[in-house]
Symmetry: C2
Subunit: 371 residues, 2 copies
């Protein structure tokens, strides 16, 4: 894809506004990065897998524009969203005497983005950072909107900050090296956007899913850009999740419970979100909001995206316990994002406990699809 | 002191504005706290010393207004500004299922305030908090303005956030139990405010220092309130320290070097700041800004406040090394807050290295005053 095919989405947050550029070849356009630097000095945080593929290219491109680069490579995996890894990053920054004007650059997926964003939020009480997401999940979701976090031993993303990047560069060429399973996991968040607030986009996905799965540049760029537009609208209206932004958590309360209850790393985040969206749809159906046919459309699209749609058999009691430490709890009552229809989500604490338990037991469908 | 003697200073920061109440008996006025709660639930973070003195009183006062209280007692001392202690706080909050609407309350000195403020900044990506400072240092400085932090093994306050409290309650009665040495340490910051931007306040201190040392309520409340007014003006104009707020660091670059170079805990922060202010005055004198008589006024006032005025003999090279990891470094050049005159500070990178080294060697005065 040529540079002129780049799409740009603006996140409007007053003095914290920034651009998301989406398209092919962006890693070779360091001038987009340099325009955002306060000083020609960056620390690039990445992992060995992404680093081997893209760090050299990004480094040379930046060096050609006289940008000093400190690379910081941390191991791969969700377990790295920890105090220990964060402290390793601080050690490296301190040993290179990184100052308030040094910009941190996250080159990688959601883990690298969350970790780097939180490091930037708290190092010297805040330094600038740029997101260069290299997975579909990170491009459509975690790199946009400033939610940063690390995990606590007892719950995911418990410790973090709302802290906006200066720029997001989503180079869709990097999706070419993404394993199929991770592409599918990213598609779970893509489908989620359609479910939350864009029935036309949901229908577009029903017509174009195979083109996205085949990584056709036009389809991928459209899908990523549409998700970023939807997220930018939501974040622009509610940066700190006091209202509408909570809708982005569709499927996430269930999903986090699955991730927390299973062995660490057994489920990809997107896989758990896919099941979570299905559970939210089923509970919405129990409440008479969605019809059987709607639920089948939801399940069918996730399946075509090669995603699981059946919850692991933890039992309702264990699910409720796992969901009890969720951040969205208020006044001790569990709140969930449910669906009025495909394309319209809402947040509510009004649902029957029996319906919830029935859905958590997976009683509607006895055929597990996740191995 | 009766409630009607309370002074109130407003910190103007748009939607993050808040009040500082200063006076006697405030711990027995829980309605001031309740007015700021989103939910009648607080976690009070304190240490054993302050907890023994004041936790019971505060807890009963809040309980009488139906506020649920979770007390979290962490050990005393600067070493507690660590990941480990922060994680202990998160563990307690999680085990009590503290939600986004639970307010954290810092009951203690600077360590408790910095730790609690940072915990509030990052727990669930941000929960409300209230400062109840019980030391002079915390009342005039660390509890106001939203600077929160923990230490890194290699440098103080390296990891933190700008995160404003909802309310500051400075009960001057709590200073009655403060050890003399800590009262003096707090006075270092009080004198600093006069040096930075209020020559009349500096002169008031020259006339009234003994009344403050004797903890006369009227003098103490006036001094605390004047410092809070000055800090509120500065923070209101420059919340994130991009300009004027840096002047509050008068004496702190030198002071942090002293704290970092000496054995942990050997110097109180205020003691190091006192020496730092003297060093800044001497360097300003070397540059022809302050006269010998001005420097003598500065030294004399710190001495009357029973504070050290002579730097430990680390040698200039070690000082420069210790100052090299300071947050205020920009483009690799050391910047310092110096004095144009008593009551007028400025930030500069323009000073002769030889003058700095001469001052760091303490060559002006061979008589050490710190044991």
């Amino acid at each position: 894809m040529k540079p002129h095919d780049t799409r740009t989405v603006q996140v409007e947050l007053g003095e914290r506004s920034y651009a998301i550029h989406i398209g092919g070849g962006l890693l070779s356009r360091p001038e987009l990065i340099v325009a955002q630097l306060v000083q020609k000095r960056v620390a690039i945080i990445t992992n060995p897998v992404v680093g081997d593929l893209y760090l050299g290219r990004l480094r040379s491109a930046l060096a050609a524009l006289d940008v000093a680069v400190v690379p910081i490579v941390v191991p791969d995996g969700e377990a790295q969203k920890s105090w220990e890894t964060l402290n390793r990053i601080f050690d490296e920054l301190l040993s290179h005497r990184s100052e308030r004007r040094t910009t941190l650059v996250a080159l990688g997926g959601g883990v690298i983005g969350d970790l780097t964003g939180f490091a930037a939020a708290v190092y010297l009480r805040g330094v600038p950072y740029i997101q260069i997401p290299t997975t579909l999940l990170a491009q459509v979701d975690s790199s946009v909107g400033g939610k940063t976090a690390i995990n606590h031993a007892r719950a995911k993303n418990m410790i973090g900050a709302f802290y906006q990047p200066r720029l997001v560069l989503a180079d869709t060429d990097t999706l070419g090296t993404l394993p199929d399973r991770e592409l599918s996991a990213g598609l779970a968040e893509v489908i989620k956007y359609g479910l939350i607030r864009d029935p036309a986009f949901f229908a577009w996905l029903e017509s174009n899913l195979e083109n996205v799965l085949a990584r056709k540049p036009e389809a991928v760029t459209y899908a990523v850009a549409r998700c970023c537009e939807l997220k930018a609208q939501i974040v622009g209206a509610d940066e700190r999740e006091s209202g509408e932004r909570a809708l982005l958590n569709l499927g996430h309360t269930f999903g986090h419970a699955i991730e927390a209850g299973a062995e660490l790393g057994a489920w990809l985040h997107g896989e758990a979100v896919a099941v979570g969206c299905v559970l939210a749809s089923r509970l919405s159906q129990q409440m008479g909001l969605l019809g059987e046919a709607d639920v089948e459309r939801v399940v069918a699209l996730f399946r075509r995206a090669r995603l699981p749609t059946q919850p692991p058999a933890f039992g309702a009691a264990r699910y409720l316990e796992l969901m009890g430490v969720d951040k969205k709890i208020e006044h001790g009552r569990l709140r969930l994002v449910l669906l009025q229809s495909i394309g319209s989500a809402f947040l509510t604490a009004e649902f029957a406990q029996a319906s919830l338990e029935r859905v958590l037991e997976g009683r509607e469908d006895a055929h597990a699809s996740h191995g």
